[in-house]
């Protein structure tokens, strides 16, 4: 089965936070962005918005550090990394370990939560009016995009260093 991933186009994002709202409603029933699994990070002074979601990393630090195996991978479901709420003890080690600032502590449920692709139909994708987030197959085209981004970063680093 082809693995699918969430792809974010930062240049399209307007920072409306609709994704946060629908994610929160879908997962918790509450219209509360602070409980959503996607977070919009912003640079207010220049008006840049970046929706941050879990990358479901190949080498996931959250899975590695979880003491209870609550945080685990599901290879048959888009190879996603999910947290089993029934096993989570709320130690928050995964939050500290994740380099992408991802799992979030839900203060209502007292456990750590993260993106689970809404069981194959991500609501952030369905409700994003400007199509800044898409759910696509992680095929060669995406690899090319990643390489392009990496090259762009390398060029910028070279320029910055003179």
């Amino acid at each position: 089965m082809e693995q699918k991933v969430l792809l974010v186009d930062q240049q399209k994002c307007t920072g409306c936070r609709q994704c946060e709202l629908v994610c929160s409603v879908y997962h918790t029933g509450a219209s509360n962005p602070s409980r959503s699994r996607v977070k919009v990070v912003k640079w207010e002074q220049v008006g840049i918005y970046l929706p941050m979601t879990c990358n479901h990393c190949e080498e996931a630090y959250c899975v590695e550090v979880c003491p209870t195996k609550a945080c685990h991978r599901e290879p048959d479901k888009d190879n996603r990394v999910v947290i089993d709420k029934k096993l989570c003890i709320g130690c928050r080690t995964c939050i500290i370990a994740c380099p992408f600032g991802q799992p979030f502590f839900d203060h209502q449920e007292r456990v750590t939560v993260k993106c689970d692709y809404c069981d194959g139909d991500p609501q952030c994708v369905a409700f994003c009016n400007v199509r800044a987030i898409s759910f696509v197959e992680a095929d060669r085209a995406q690899m090319a995009k990643k390489k392009e981004a990496a090259n762009r970063l390398a060029d910028l680093l070279k320029q910055a260093r003179g």
Binding site: V8, Q10, G15, R17, A30, N32, P33, S34, R35, K39, V40, V41, K42, W43, E44, V46, I48, L50, M52, Y61, V63, E64, V65, C66, P67, T68, K69, A70, L87, C88, I89, G90, C91, R92, T93, I95, I96, A97, C98, P99, F100, G101, F105, Q108, E109, R110, V111, T112, A149, R152, L153, L156, L157, A160, R161, G162
Partner: protein, 334 residues
């Protein structure tokens, strides 16, 4: 329906330290480290057969058995670790699930720590219980007791080291991600542990101020403090050069909002006061000054854990860094 608090759009700044682990974890790390360190020193005193004064306390009987309190002031370390462990449970989101915490020892250091601390507490308390009750039916004079004592010693060492490994294993905080951190916590465990043993043996009269064993113990403690100071210097200087976030963490500690914790809590209470007061107490033969020095050192040991936990700044998110470069929001120093 109850209202829920709603946060504004988050303005993520990579210079903000982590907010997940706070003072409760510092208390846990401190009690575990100090308790394990004091047990290591105590069991070494026990193994070396140091002559101890009789305790000036009334005899206590429990279930018609007279308790032997002679070794209590040197073997109380497991009690401290037993008091510290519930602090970790207090910090959990769902506290009653703490027993799940050993399900993934293959990769998780939290799970390994749960096992290490449990083994140490069980064997440490067994050794303490053996020193209190005669356990005649278990032949307390038998050389076989060296086996559980050895296991307790090894797991005490592992506990002291583990307190640093727990932080190091999270990887994403450059301040913590160094082998020097477990070494720093180990030396701190030994310095605070030996000082705690000095205070408890001196306070109970188990060892007198002028006894040879006390002198050796004090020299050992001073050596541990000096080694701890050297390791702290190496730790901070290496972390300053390690990465942008490592540098920010060290700045936060030394000149930022944690400067009072660092200069007054760690340096003044943990190093300068004890060294100076111990020197003066030696000069004036004053055990009262030694007590003040000891309490100061023990407080400094706590602030060391607190400061390092609160100064932990995570690595910047790669995408954020990409955006910042792309829009020229940050410049790399040439």
């Amino acid at each position: 329906m109850a209202t829920e608090s709603i946060q504004p759009i988050r303005m993520t700044k990579y210079v903000s330290p982590q907010q997940e682990w706070k003072v409760i974890i510092a208390i846990y790390l401190y009690l575990a480290g100090m308790g394990a360190g004091s047990f290591m020193i105590g069991i070494l005193i026990h193994w070396m057969g140091v002559a101890l004064n009789p305790l000036p306390v009334p005899l206590i009987e429990l279930f018609d058995v007279r308790l032997d309190l002679a070794k209590l002031p040197i073997l109380w370390g497991p009690i401290m670790v037993s008091i510290g462990a519930p602090f970790l449970i207090l910090d959990l989101g769902i506290k009653w699930r703490f027993m799940y915490a050993c399900l993934n020892p293959r990769t998780s250091w939290v799970a390994r720590g749960f096992i290490i601390l449990s083994v140490f507490i069980v064997f440490g308390l067994l050794i303490l219980a053996k020193s209190l009750w005669p356990f005649k039916w278990l032949n307390p004079e038998s050389g076989l007791w060296l086996i559980p004592e050895g296991i307790a010693f090894v797991f005490a060492f592992a506990t002291a080291l583990y307190t640093g490994i727990l932080l190091k294993a999270t990887k994403s905080v450059p301040l913590w991600n160094t082998p020097l951190l477990p070494l720093l916590f180990l030396t701190s465990a030994l310095s605070t542990g030996s000082m705690a043993i000095i205070l408890s043996t001196l306070g109970t009269g188990l060892l007198s101020y002028h006894s040879g064993a006390m002198k050796v113990l004090m020299v050992g403690e001073q050596i541990f403090v000096v080694i701890e100071g050297i390791v702290l210097y190496l730790f901070l200087s290496r972390r300053y050069k390690a990465s942008e976030q490592g540098r920010e963490s060290v700045r936060l500690l030394m000149t930022g909002k944690l400067r009072y914790v660092f200069w007054q809590g760690i340096i003044l209470l943990g190093f300068l006061f004890p060294i100076v007061l111990e020197w003066i107490s030696k000069h004036y033969q004053s055990s009262a000054l030694l007590f003040i020095a000891g309490l100061s050192l023990l407080t400094g040991g706590f602030f060391l854990r607190l400061g390092l936990i609160q100064a932990g700044i995570k690595d910047q998110i790669p995408m954020q860094r990409l955006v910042e470069f792309q829009y020229g929001l940050i410049k790399i120093p040439k």
